[in-house]
């Protein structure tokens, strides 16, 4: 695959916009969001992670946010932060060659559901708001990013759960390899709403004591083909060397996720031409609970042996963020590389799998 350089990144999570807020979220002192917000209906349980009092106009510093849903606002905020971080200047000479690829689980569950609700409870079923209709379409935030930042290149939305962001990276790598685009803003987003909060609660496999509630946010990365112009690169050193994904169908009712995940990690290492000994950092997601976390660590140990590798877990800090989890794993890698500062030998693994059967792994060099 085409090696991709990360020339900038940006995040928004319950702790706020930007890198400092992201780092703060990993500080256990940062409690879950509290206070009045439309997202807090119903009242949050302990461990929920959402942005209190989200003000779209203030966050995006521009008009035109009135009909945007929360998912679009979060995506635009993170995307803008990534563009600023990279120093990428969008103009008529390059906008046709800059794309956006965004991962999501439902699009906006709330926008879809609220629209359906209106057809059920209004005195006429067609008394819905036409201006909100685009929000019910899954690619709305991606199209909004194209409009907001004037990007006319490849514009794709990828649906998935935990592994969605790795699919985003694969799509971005292909777009560059096949010369459909020179630069891709790759990200993933999930919003905290009553719908996702209750979905998380009703599907929670772990005990509440584990403290992983539902979260929200977005992370974006400015990706450029390594062969391309790197004038804008502030993170000159960070490269995504390989991304491998696969699917594990049920066989006689069960899935062999363990073997598939190990196979993915090994293939990612081979493609990256990186030996297991070189990996210095692993970014784990796993929000679904302790049992899932044990499965991931067990399979990593099967590939890397008993050696201790520095490990960062995004879910305890950021909550269960569905499609955004993979992007937050990647953001944690970027933050980790920055802390390691100039350590030439930094190599990170981003593994992912979902109960639905998809598996994946990426190797990143810092």
């Amino acid at each position: 695959m085409t090696c991709m350089m990360v020339s900038g990144w940006g995040t928004i999570c319950h702790a706020g916009l930007g890198r400092d807020a992201f780092a703060k979220a990993f500080d256990s002192a940062c409690a879950a969001g509290a206070g009045g917000t439309e997202a807090s209906e119903p009242p949050p349980w302990p461990g929920e992670r959402f942005l209190p009092n989200l003000d779209a106009r203030e966050l995006l510093e521009r008009k035109g946010t009135v009909f945007m849903d929360r998912r679009s606002v979060l995506a635009l905020a993170a995307c803008g932060a990534a563009i600023r971080d990279s120093g990428l200047e969008v103009d008529d000479t390059n906008r046709d060659r800059i794309g956006v690829v965004l991962g999501t689980t439902w699009g906006s569950f709330k926008s879809m559901s609220d629209y359906t609700r209106d057809t059920l409870v209004e005195d006429r079923p067609y008394r819905v708001n036409a201006a909100l209709f685009p929000n019910t379409v899954m690619n709305c935030a991606t199209g909004q990013a194209g409009i907001w930042f004037g990007l006319r290149g490849v514009n794709a939305t990828i649906a998935g759960t935990e592994t969605a962001f790795l699919e985003v990276l694969r799509y971005a790598a292909n777009a560059m390899r096949r010369e459909h685009a020179d630069v891709i803003l790759a990200g993933a987003v999930e919003e905290y709403t009553p719908h996702t909060a209750w979905a998380g609660r009703l599907q929670r496999r772990s005990s509440p004591a584990e403290g992983v509630g539902t979260g929200e946010g977005a992370a974006f990365f400015v990706l450029e083909s390594s062969a391309g112009d790197s004038r804008n690169a502030r993170h000159r050193g960070v490269h995504i060397l390989s991304v491998v994904t696969g699917y594990v169908p049920r066989h006689n009712g069960a899935r062999d996720l363990d073997r598939a995940l190990q196979d993915c990690i090994q293939r990612a290492l081979r493609q990256a031409k990186v030996g297991p000994d070189e990996v210095t950092l692993v970014a784990l997601d796993h929000a679904a609970g302790a049992e899932q976390d044990r499965r991931t660590t067990r399979n990593i140990a099967a590939v890397f042996g008993p050696r201790q590798i520095a490990t960062v877990r995004v879910a305890p800090a950021l909550g269960r963020c569905y499609a955004a989890q993979g992007a937050f794993q990647m953001a944690a890698v970027m933050a980790g590389f920055q802390r390691a500062a100039n350590d030439e030998s930094s190599v990170a693994l981003v593994p992912s799998w979902s109960e639905d059967g998809s598996v994946g792994a990426a190797i990143v060099r810092g």
Binding site: M112, Y126, N155, H180
Partner: protein
């Protein structure tokens, strides 16, 4: 570079399920439009859509348990199974890790979201069914196809709205051409639902009776549903197993209007056509037939025609819209266009634009193949797909020499 063939087609549509029924439907200009049965239309002024009325997943699916999957995933899995059967692919032909799935969708598992919403409205959030929640993520649409076909090469769901299956076919083509895998089952799926029907009505984009693309008096689209899938296979791989080749994928282009979230842009669509031609190494004069996006809304058909006039000049190719028969199947739409394109090339005909009565002077010399399919030698087809969000994607198919 590896060449990529279309060796199987799997339509699950309102005009027919399976290749033979779908082909017959296209040839005779069959209408798949009927009074909506999948939800209560009481209170809606417009009551028609393109539903797949006789969809029986159990008759098609071999591995998937229909009770555990949403309607869109079932459409996708059934389409994938039909396409693989049509291609004559058996498990020994390709190891599972060399087979991937890429499917498109606009609204994902919309009927599942609507069932959950009914629970919310009736009893509250806390009464959402965990089983329905498990079925609700849109990524399940490609997962279901992987599950049905026991494919392990990857599951990708592209949610780029109404051009999503062209995105899927384009991405699949790149993956086969580069040798990542040898076979990709690609297409799309969506289900008729209340919210989309209401939304298009509120936008003033919904037709009352029939969808009449390119007609002067066209009123709009009709929502529709189904699953579309094609088998993309590396050409030598197909030849070695003696497969029938319908057509070859020559290339594709995609771009974003970046102007308005719902209104199409003729200049951006024209740019997308040029991207597709360049990627496919064809000239505008090579295109024999355009399988139009052709939703039947005044604005789409005008923008699409203007874009073609800009790219093709005086010689706009013969153009028809199969949405006149199927309705707008959203994420499945350009997949049905791809199937129609492959069949047009292989069978030597052009499908009609039905319900067409009156020429529209604002569309110039557009030739919409009114009401009757036509025999023709078709060597190169341009399959258009446009979407909310300004997501344009166009795939070019050619006769396989």
């Amino acid at each position: 570079m590896r060449r990529v063939a279309i060796t199987g087609v799997g339509p699950v549509s309102s005009i027919g399920v399976g290749k033979d029924a779908f082909l017959a439907g296209l040839r005779e200009g069959r209408s798949g439009i009927s009074r909506i049965a999948s939800f209560d239309v009481s209170g809606f002024p417009n009551t028609r859509a393109g539903e797949v009325r006789d969809f029986e997943p159990t008759e098609i699916l071999q591995r998937l348990n229909p009770a555990a999957w949403g309607r869109s995933s079932l459409f996708a899995a059934a389409a994938g199974r039909l396409a693989v059967n049509d291609a004559g692919l058996v498990p020994d032909d390709a190891p599972p890790e060399r087979v991937a799935v890429v499917m498109g969708t606009t609204c994902g598992e919309s009927s599942v979201i609507e069932a959950l919403t009914a629970e919310i409205v009736e009893r509250g959030y806390e009464f959402m069914s965990p089983d329905l929640l498990a079925q609700s993520p849109a990524g399940r649409i490609a997962d279901g196809v992987c599950e049905e076909l026991a494919a392990t090469g990857g599951s990708t769901t592209l949610a780029t709205a109404c051009s999503a299956s062209n995105y899927a076919i384009g991405y699949a083509y790149d993956n086969v051409a580069e040798g990542d895998v040898d076979v990709v089952v690609a297409g799309g799926a969506d289900s008729v639902c209340r919210w989309v029907h209401a939304g298009f009505y509120r936008l003033g984009a919904l037709a009352r009776e029939d969808c009449a693309p390119f007609d002067r008096d066209r009123q709009g689209l009709l929502t529709a549903e189904g699953g579309s899938a094609v088998v993309l296979e590396e050409l030598d791989h197909a030849r070695q197993r003696g497969a029938r080749v319908y057509a070859e994928v020559l290339g594709y282009g995609s771009n974003c209007d970046a102007e308005h979230i719902v209104a199409p842009s003729a200049s951006s669509i024209a740019a997308c056509m040029q991207l597709a031609h360049r990627n496919s190494h064809v000239q505008p004069g090579d295109i024999d037939y355009v399988c139009a996006h052709g939703t039947g809304t005044p604005s789409n058909d005008l923008a699409e025609t203007r874009a073609m006039q800009e790219v093709f000049g005086e010689r706009v190719p013969v153009t028809s819209s199969i949405k006149s028969m199927l309705g707008h199947t959203m994420g499945a739409a350009s997949g049905f266009g791809a199937i129609a394109s492959a069949l047009a090339i292989h069978e030597g005909f052009v499908p009609p634009t039905t319900h067409w009565k009156t020429p529209d002077p604002t569309l110039g010399n557009l030739e919409p193949v009114p009401n009757q399919a036509r025999s023709a030698s078709v060597r190169v087809v341009q399959n258009n797909g446009f979407a909310f969000g300004g997501n344009n994607a166009i795939v070019i198919f050619g006769a396989c020499s």
